[in-house]
Subunit: 162 residues, 4 copies
Amino acid sequence: MEILILVTGGTFAKEYNELTGELFFKDTHVGEMLNLGRSLVTTTTLTLMMKDSLHMTDEDRSVIAGKCKAVKQDLIIITHGTDTMVETADFLAKEIKGKTIVLTGAMIPYKFGSSDGLFNLGSALAFVQTLDKGVYVAMNGRYFHAGNVRKNKKNGVFEELK
Amino acid sequence: MEILILVTGGTFAKEYNELTGELFFKDTHVGEMLNLGRSLVTTTTLTLMMKDSLHMTDEDRSVIAGKCKAVKQDLIIITHGTDTMVETADFLAKEIKGKTIVLTGAMIPYKFGSSDGLFNLGSALAFVQTLDKGVYVAMNGRYFHAGNVRKNKKNGVFEELK
Amino acid sequence: MEILILVTGGTFAKEYNELTGELFFKDTHVGEMLNLGRSLVTTTTLTLMMKDSLHMTDEDRSVIAGKCKAVKQDLIIITHGTDTMVETADFLAKEIKGKTIVLTGAMIPYKFGSSDGLFNLGSALAFVQTLDKGVYVAMNGRYFHAGNVRKNKKNGVFEELK
Amino acid sequence: MEILILVTGGTFAKEYNELTGELFFKDTHVGEMLNLGRSLVTTTTLTLMMKDSLHMTDEDRSVIAGKCKAVKQDLIIITHGTDTMVETADFLAKEIKGKTIVLTGAMIPYKFGSSDGLFNLGSALAFVQTLDKGVYVAMNGRYFHAGNVRKNKKNGVFEELK
């Protein structure tokens, strides 16, 4: 059993540029986080893109779907910005069958001391090992089926549609 | 669905006493960690004892087992020192049927900046929601069935017996 | 001996808004930082404004200078954005005599785990207790006289003019 | 102007051994801390010993005094455990003339997220650049003359004798 971790950007991956005072993408922190969690799950991490999810297009989503289909792994975690995580989950659910795909992200950049990212990565890694084939969003310690989840923009949490 | 989190101590819960220079137990950090992870899972946290797992006796384990049986929840996470987590899992597996019980802990105290605790709590919370009834150890991003796990004392990681 | 800490904003004070993904000013962290440093110096902290130093005008600088003159304390630390800290130091040096004024700030927000802010506050607090009357910039572990310091925008460090 | 930083151990330098659950000395973190503070002061760091200050003997203090005399630098910071920092300051004050020596330390190990160490190092670095020749303890944001300072064991803070 091997798990693929596809990095697509999002708050999860942002850092602070001390010369410009802006947040930016450098490298993924997934490797560092797996070390911190002393993970011994067999994983491969692949950075596909580094995008704010507000800037993610259906073209980007096709690239993600294509990669998910092309790879040999059946268990896939996708780190993704939270703003359009739900849209990407819907897109993938239509395109991909026979794999377990879990999207996760963070509200606070990992490089901030008080990020939810490490918690979310731990839960995504557990969900991808245990859930049936399908596409899921893993946030707030919970999992949601693609098609039955939205991000509540007012309070920043994920909830079921019904 | 409600999850009970039983706190029994372990490295997870230790703090640094700046007057004596020693590590000690104060309060559980589980609530703080769930907030950090923005958990929206319905949980109740109960501190049963605050013990170094090296000092945990079969009497203590009976108390834990008794509590697991007595409570109404069928999904239970137990935070526990890693040194005898395996022994407690074995003990509980013999005593309790019909519930999903996941033991987890940490190699580094949560109050240290670089703890694996938040990652482990995230994964334990996911495992307890998805695994079949039984007793498990959740460490290193993986889950192990009670009776088929040991702690490798040399490198501090958990592994299957066979 | 009492030290006044005047808060004017800057990177030092920024936080991450997890709903918008932007950095913003909430409250000053100076009190929290003094606690973390176990400071027992007698200090009063006063938030005068919360400004990015790029947006600081000479009108703002007049407000700062006026406050420095009006207060009873002769030892004053000013937390300030680094981009125009030098300009404010020059301005104050022309306006104020007979007080020791130390400007400091941070390259990384305190709320990020890896900020230089705590180090800078520690050094500013020491400098204000020991330097002669005058206006100074305290950054990079060093102190600079107003009128003989610039921020090197390329590498983000402070250096003498000559 | 060059500053020597003599490392002698103390809480400052302790780390957590995750296999034994005990605190221990590995390497000094002074270099890492100076980087975090973006220090541009010219410093040389030298690890002389790695001792709990409760175990520090007058023989150890002679070694420290000998080193302080032998080196070319006239500005010296000594990182030291807080329990007997006062005794070492007294010892050095009798032995060494013509140099500025500042002892500092921490109540919480630097490797814990919430250490006072970074604040103390920032203040010690400022004090050593500005105080007259003599031996000092720099803790709690303040400086104390050797011979006129004690550690209040009850609350862990430093205070004047009179």
